[in-house]
């Protein structure tokens, strides 16, 4: 197995006819992802390089059996596109769009959760299960198939770590970018739960950054409910208080949300935390080798 995306994924892309949507949607298909449909209101009946386009996600589900939706529409329409996918009966929604207002996400988060739909993102690079499926913008060439699960708030930082693992001859079961927004559909705990249950995953690398308390919560959860080894990395030790560091969620307010607090919380629960992406990858390699 792998988690969230795999051989069983049938993908519908909201915004497939847009420039980015076309580029990444077809790139995902080239990787081997089963791209079954695109959706753009008013463009039903067209196609993008042979992929049928519908007016609604419901039609893509009914006619093409789509079970996973990727959202690539502009920020002000993106929450509605997620809502539409949730209502149309897909199992998983992966929202790449950056810049969705947080009050929109507050409502959309609960709609997805109440409907039992797994939401990844928004403002995330997507999910890659090497050798099986890629949904999103993660460059698959930096990752090999293997037994390390990666869950991360950051895209490029994940590529950095993935590449170091690959150079060390290690690979990944699934790489999950959960996104750097204040409200994301799935947090570390949701993804750790899936990796814990996934028989292909032997070790989990968790990549966090300043802001919020998702890493601290994850530390508690790891101590109680994760039997597999977890290696951590946190970015933002040099970030000043009160300044947003790129991601909408990456901001230290008062004494909470600092990288040190997160590192301390993880180490207190027995998670080894690398001081650089390089060291995190090394620790992961060592830990895996010691188990073999």
């Amino acid at each position: 197995m792998s988690i969230i995306v795999g051989a069983e994924t049938k993908l519908v892309v909201s915004g497939l006819t847009g420039r980015e949507g076309t580029f990444h949607g077809l790139r995902n298909r080239d990787y081997g992802t089963d791209l079954v449909a695109g959706v753009t209101p008013g463009k039903g009946g067209q196609d993008v390089d042979g992929v049928p386009v519908f007016d609604t996600i419901r039609e893509a589900v009914d006619e093409r059996g789509a079970n996973t939706s990727m959202v690539f529409v502009p920020a002000r329409f993106a929450a509605a596109a997620i809502d539409e996918a949730v209502g149309a009966g897909v199992e998983t929604v992966i929202a790449i769009t950056e810049g969705i207002p947080v009050h929109d996400m507050l409502k959309t988060y609960w709609r997805a959760r109440d409907a039992g739909v797994r939401l990844i993102g928004p403002n995330c690079p997507g999910v890659l299960s090497p050798g099986k499926a890629n949904v999103g913008i993660i460059p698959a060439q930096f990752f090999d198939k293997g037994s390390i699960g990666v869950v991360s708030k950051s895209g490029t930082l994940t590529y950095q770590i993935g590449n170091e693992l690959k150079q060390a001859g290690l690979g990944n079961s699934t790489i999950v970018g959960i996104g750097g927004d204040p409200i994301v559909g799935s947090d570390f705990i949701d993804v750790l739960t899936l990796f814990e249950a996934d028989d292909e995953t032997e070790l989990i690398v968790m990549v966090g950054e300043i802001g919020g308390d998702a890493e601290e919560r994850a530390a508690e959860f790891i101590a109680e409910s994760v039997s597999k080894p977890v290696v951590g990395y946190i970015a933002g030790f040099t970030a000043p208080e009160g300044k947003q560091m790129g991601h909408a969620g990456a901001i230290i307010s008062g004494s909470s949300g600092t990288a040190q607090a997160k590192k301390d919380a993880l180490e207190a629960k027995g998670v080894r935390v690398g001081t650089s992406p390089t060291e995190a990858a090394q620790i992961a390699g060592e830990t895996l080798a010691a188990r073999a």
Binding site: P101, D104, Y159, A235, H247
Partner: protein, 363 residues
Amino acid sequence: MPSGRHATTVDEAVAGADEVGYPCVVKAQVRIGGRGKAGGIKVAENADEARKHAEAILGMDIRGFTVDEVWVEQASEIDAEHYASIILDRGEKKLLAIVTAMGGMEVEEVADRDPQALVRRHLDPGAGMTSEIGGELAQEAGIDEDVRDQVAEMLVKLHDVATAEDATLIEVNPLIVTTDRRVIALDSKVTIDGNALFRHPELAELDESSSDDPQERMAKEKGVTYVKLDGDIGILGNGAGLCMSTLDVVAQAGGRPANFLDAGGGSKADAIVAALEVITSDEKVRAILFNIFGGITRGDEIAKGIIEAVRRIDIDVPLVVRLDGTNSEEGLGLLADADIQNLHLEKTMLGAAKAVVELVEGS
């Protein structure tokens, strides 16, 4: 809010004080919290005191922000100081209302000293805040019975404003009860979600994410994601996480980063030129580190940007470049052919961090 007057000069402030009457309060108008602690809120008993306070406060620096404006209002006869806020709780994915009878100090302080005194309630995304919930919170917080309804109404209003204006924080502190039993929001702080400014053009005008820093202002104009820090090594990375990580690794190598700059995904040459213009406009910068791991971003585009920037702007500090990922080999080839002075190519992130620190220390 009590009625008052805006003033941008000392004379205006004194005239405003005369109009609202004495005693009055002179308050610094800045877009950051903590002004009371910094001496930005003073009570004046007469015109001389109003003048003295206005002189002290106008032009004052509060946590990096210069005070250009004061608000002068009638001093209320205060019987009690409370606290109320609506904030976004990221962990619970809900709005959270907090009320405490102990106002006037930082809420974190209350949490440390007497956590029992803080009353918290997560709000259901459908129902929001009602006067019933507000009344319960006021009661649990131990606020006097005769003013609970007013506090409840205030909470409903705060929630309405939070949702209507896309606020992630609305904090009223102190929320005062006057001797004649009125409830007044004496001081408040509001944080608006930057992602939602498109539907609040009037708030977007206020926004400059409030920077007095010339580089940060320049970055904003050019659409560059930049945060000024106090070191001397300019940093350019792609992606917020990798960029933060680069700052950390440079600091671990003994260097001091001058900035955070996320060139973003899919940067084209022009964006790199703009980014370098911002970084080099900071005179403290003595070397610049590029740390690029291309996913959507293409290494050849980054290299073209560097070559173009060197041609267009005068860069007299060394550049250390680590280029990896998509099209990195093409990019490295372009850079090698361009024969740029003072350009150092490094293979790894750690190697690049060490190299840039050595260059600064050796210069």
